[in-house]
Amino acid sequence: MAGERLLVRCAGKLCGLEVPLVREVIRPLPVAELPRVPKFVMGAVSHRGEAFPVVDLATLVGLGSCEMLPSSRMVVVQMPQGRLGVFVESVEGVGGRPEARDVDLEAALEIALTK
């Protein structure tokens, strides 16, 4: 197995994010809508003195869109190019589950941005 994943739910589906990228999991913050950005970008937030964009994981990987639920969370990840917020419907924990879809965030972003 290629290591443990942070298991999250988006558009009802279970996905796995690379654990080393994850900095923290927080409740959703108020988002400032960014103009002229692709649809998967929800906007920008300011957290711990840093400003970074937030993406909807479901839209990013083509699963529709995440609903705002009481269990919704923002996963703060550190990409090589900078910090990023990933909006998900819930965080289920860390581990390996065969049905979880593996998400390579870096590749997904690159594909989504070149579209």
């Binding site: 913050l29 108020p30 988002v31 103009p35 950005v37 920008a44 003195g49 840093e50 964009p53 993406v55």
Partner: protein, 666 residues
């Protein structure tokens, strides 16, 4: 066995050494300026400052194993020690060496671990020059003298003793002023008395008198030299409870030599600027808590609490507000540094470029005391040097060419910094040949930046603005210094990154002025808050010229004889429901000659904002400079005015003929 110290951080060394060299250069240049005044001697304070920097550089280099630099520092220290102690006369040679040392240090530092032959030879030759100078004894300095008063002889450092002897030789009288200070007021009273005595002549030393200090009082002797008569001093000090007594003239040979002290240590600390950012952030959060407290207090007002308790609560909330503002302001102040180091560097660059190009140029600088955020000053350095290179290489003509058109052979470059509220305008103006407009057009057409047919429709400003377009450069022959393939487009981008803008004016045959408008700091910016389609944005107020109620929205309007294109923010940002709006306000923003009007629905006042640049993890977002948190905790986008002006300019150019019609009709 002692452990080796941890591996030294080369980056930190470079930064720190660079700082020291800059400070050294700045002190040397102040010293030169002082010596240029006829009859004026090198002031001890400045000599001390120069000595201190060389001393630090030597220590620092030795610590980090930059041996060659440490060695040059050591020899330079000998020279300064000689000058400071008066063993060596302050000749033109000495001054020249001090100036040459700037490049000497810089050169060795730049080479890092490996030192090229050329640099090593330059350093060798400097060291030889210094040794030659040190061999030369000072005329008339061979009659040693001694301080008569035994108390002074034992208490003064050798430097202070030297100052005493020098003052005495110059015919000044020496006095000791003794005063008992109340412990609680000691610091203020002492510095006040020091100032008074310093104005009479030179305050040489402050010596505590322990035997006179009892209970809550502390007693000091202040040694000073003056040309004033005793009765004059006594009149001046009347009512201050100062006991004045004259010091005997020095006599006989000195008995001892004491190790010199490198002046008084500066009371400063070095702080990572990120720590200041964190402090600012915390102060901002303090502001948020204050806001919540104030809301709570307001709610409590209806709760039938004892009035006294409530009013005390409200008072404390007010005080908290004031303090948190003061805190932010103080943190801001610690980030600010004067432009003087940058200006000193500018003077050196101008000298060097003038020498290289065989041109005769005078730099007139003013406003070096204007203070800006350290990050901005640092980021500005290369930009400013680039502009100066341009002024000298392309602006100022060779002396013969200047004489031929009736200009003085010596060209003038003016470097000016002025603060206007929360913004600083820095301009570089030369009295050279001006920008060759035909050449601009030719080059722009050649490089495919401009259609030949479009030339006629260009305004002067648009034409001059072409020099800022990427890929444009009028430098035909790249000089040694400016031919780095960096064009003005890079300068423009760099200035924009600092939330500033740049502007160029030029008159053929008369000269060129480049003007940069920058915020004093990026840490705390006043923002005008505007609303479009129920979304709020902040515009840095240093970019705002005026806010006008919008009567009818044309594609452009005329303000003070200038055509200002108007863009609708809703349309530019493609906001939902932005197509058929009737905006109420136009906010005029942008640089002097390149203003645009942004049409918005509402203007919601202004507010101090802490701006964080937006992470570029998804690439830059066009038109957005960063993000700020409002007191309510909601994030607010801050507009990148430079980018919006460019974008609007491009849009406007595409429909220029239509816009012009609108203007003439209105």
């Amino acid at each position: 066995m002692a452990e080796r110290p941890p591996a030294p951080d080369a980056g930190a060394f470079l930064t720190e050494a660079q700082d020291v060299i800059e400070r050294y250069a700045s002190s040397v240049s102040a010293l030169s300026a002082e010596l240029r005044v006829p009859g004026k001697e090198a002031s001890p304070d400045l000599l001390n400052a120069v000595f201190r920097e060389v001393h630090s550089l030597k220590g620092l280099s030795a610590l980090f194993g930059a041996d060659r630099l440490a060695e040059l520092g050591h020899v330079a220290e000998d020279l300064l020690e000689g000058l400071r102690m008066g063993r060596l006369a302050f000749s033109d040679d000495a001054e020249e060496i001090l100036v040459e040392l700037i490049d000497g240090f810089q050169g060795l530092l730049g080479e890092g671990g490996k030192v090229s032959l050329a640099r090593a030879e330059a350093a060798d030759s400097l060291e030889r020059k210094i040794r030659d100078l040190l061999e030369r004894p000072r005329a008339g300095h061979n009659e040693p003298m001694e301080i008569a008063d035994p108390m002074l002889r034992q208490s003064l450092t050798s430097y202070e003793a030297h100052r005493l002897l020098e003052n005495s030789k110059s015919g000044f009288d020496l006095f000791l002023a003794r005063k008992s200070f109340d412990l609680a007021l000691f610091h203020d009273e002492l510095s006040e008395l020091s100032t008074v005595l310093g104005e009479l002549g030179e305050l040489i030393a402050t010596l505590p008198v322990p035997e006179q200090s009892k209970g809550d009082t502390i007693s000091c002797d202040l040694l000073f030299a003056t040309q004033k008569q005793r009765w004059e001093i006594e009149t001046l000090l009347a009512g201050r409870n100062v006991d004045l007594r004259p010091v005997g003239k020095p006599e006989g040979p000195p008995r001892r030599e004491e190790a010199p002290e490198p002046g008084a240590p500066l009371q400063t600390v070095r702080v990572d600027i990120r720590r200041l950012d964190q402090l600012m952030e915390t102060a901002g959060q303090l502001g948020l808590s204050r806001q919540s407290l104030s809301e709570l207090a307001t709610q409590l007002r209806t709760q039938r609490l004892p009035a006294e308790l409530l009013s005390r609560l409200l008072l404390e909330v007010r005080r908290l507000e004031r303090r948190s503002e003061e805190l932010q302001e103080s943190i801001l102040q610690t980030r600010l540094v004067s432009l003087s180091q940058l200006f000193d560097r500018a003077a050196r660059v101008v000298r060097a470029v003038a020498r290289e190009s065989g041109k005769s140029v005078e730099l007139l600088a003013s406003g070096g005391d204007v203070r800006l955020d350290k990050l901005i000053v640092e980021a500005l350095s290369d930009t400013l040097m680039h502009l100066l290179h341009n002024a000298l290489d392309h602006g100022i003509e060779p002396p013969e060419a200047r004489s031929a058109v009736g200009k003085p052979a010596k060209g003038v470059v003016r470097l000016l910094a002025e603060q206007h509220g929360s913004q600083v305008v820095i301009s570089v103006a030369d009295d050279g040949r001006g920008v060759d407009r035909q050449k601009i057009v030719r080059v722009a057409v050649e490089r495919g930046l401009l259609e030949e047919s479009a030339v006629a429709a260009l305004s002067t400003r648009e034409l001059l603005g072409l020099v800022f377009v990427p890929g444009f450069s009028t430098a035909k022959d790249a000089s040694l210094l400016s031919g780095r393939g960096v064009g003005l487009d890079v300068v423009k981008t760099d200035v924009a990154r600092l939330s500033g803008f740049i502007d160029l004016e030029s008159e053929p045959g008369v000269g060129t002025t480049v003007r940069m408008t920058l915020p004093v700091t990026l840490a705390l910016l006043q923002g005008l808050i505007v609303e479009v389609c129920n979304r709020r944005y902040a515009i840095p107020v240093n970019a705002v010229w005026e806010v006008l109620p919008k009567a009818t929205l044309g594609a452009a309007m005329k303000r003070r004889e200038m055509v200002v294109p108007v863009v609708r923010l809703a349309e530019l940002f493609a906001l939902d429901g932005g197509a058929d709006r009737d905006e109420r306000f136009v906010v005029v923003v942008g640089p002097g000659e390149g203003k645009i009007g942004l049409a918005v629905d509402e203007v919601r006042g202004h507010q101090a904002l802490i701006i964080k640049p937006l992470s570029t993890v998804l690439g830059p977002v066009r038109g957005i400079a960063g993000l700020s948190l409002l007191n309510t905790g909601t994030p607010l986008l801050v507009l990148d005015i430079g980018a919006l002006v460019d974008e609007a300019g491009a849009l406007f150019a595409a429909t220029a003929s239509r816009a012009t019609r609108v203007v003439s009709a209105g």
